[in-house]
Symmetry: C2
Subunit: 217 residues, 2 copies
Amino acid sequence: MKLFSFWRSLATYRVRIALNLKGLVPDEVIDVNLMKGDQRGDAFRKVNPQMVLPALVDGEGPALFQSLAIIEYLDETHPQPPLLPKDPRSRARVRGLAQIVACDSHPLLVPRIREYLEHELKLDEPTRLKWIHTWIGAALKALESNLAGSKETGRFCHGDAVTIADICLASQAAGANFYKYDLAPFPTVRRIVDACMQNDAFARAHPLRQPGAPASV
Amino acid sequence: MKLFSFWRSLATYRVRIALNLKGLVPDEVIDVNLMKGDQRGDAFRKVNPQMVLPALVDGEGPALFQSLAIIEYLDETHPQPPLLPKDPRSRARVRGLAQIVACDSHPLLVPRIREYLEHELKLDEPTRLKWIHTWIGAALKALESNLAGSKETGRFCHGDAVTIADICLASQAAGANFYKYDLAPFPTVRRIVDACMQNDAFARAHPLRQPGAPASV
């Protein structure tokens, strides 16, 4: 396996957690520096024409793309430990929680959006930060409301075993931390993220523990 | 089944297509008028605290949320006809294509974002339209590049049977049409969307064929 990665990419963080949980170690981790725009270079564009991270090459055939699609692929090809519950209703809840992060929050903060806000819309730094905080917060409110209000919530988002929802929640918390967004109003989110970070598969995958990362953000 | 829906919601369009493909007819379709902000009213907030469409209630238990999670639930509970291929690599490609739409394009155009651009950032109409066209176009370019360049592409996005990727592609095309974004530079996308629209399950689900919709946009 070859993983195209960057320390700061929250979507790649999700895939790294899944790989760690499954005990999979990529043969190669290729750095695509999002801060230098390497994702738009010819080399990576051939791997993933969408020019976004992550991408995973597993054996022959083209790269897999989109973090949730890659994680479900890893779950289907390496079923232990499972990252989704067994029954359809529980699976829908887990996928729904994951998608609050991966569809409705994170895509609003990625490099191309931040660059558009700055260079195309010419927004100043406080206005850009307010944008980021607005959408990080909207997702956290939705997640807290669901997690605190559901009897399905356990030590983790769904019961007491880690699922794709926890992987996404951890990435949401890391993004909040990048932008100094306080998790205090979201006690259930915070409790579950703390539980995740006690798991070495999450801790080792954290952006700030990747090559090239600064000591703090 | 109870579907919370609005004619213009592209995410709900996706769920309507899936229901039609499975031959499922909701007992009730509840209109949540996104243009009047009904999604933020107390009634719907109790159904889906994220305050976004769609939501599906199936029997007892809380509403299901997030269009892709709902569609996979329908596929798991009503397996015929399948909306995903069988092998993991193909499933990853289909889910990845679907997520280009559902994660990286559509969430940038939804009501709350359009309202923020207008009322919080005070952007004028041409600037807001350029934002919308930019992200519709970025996804279409990525989709066209993948679809035109892959030997897996057939009559539909993946082979000759309809999958979740086609459902998302149809919603992307409907969104492009809302904003008069020309599909001419994307011949493979256009060919597949045309094939989809020949299927009554897609055609009947179209936003402009729902109660309350205008004759055109």
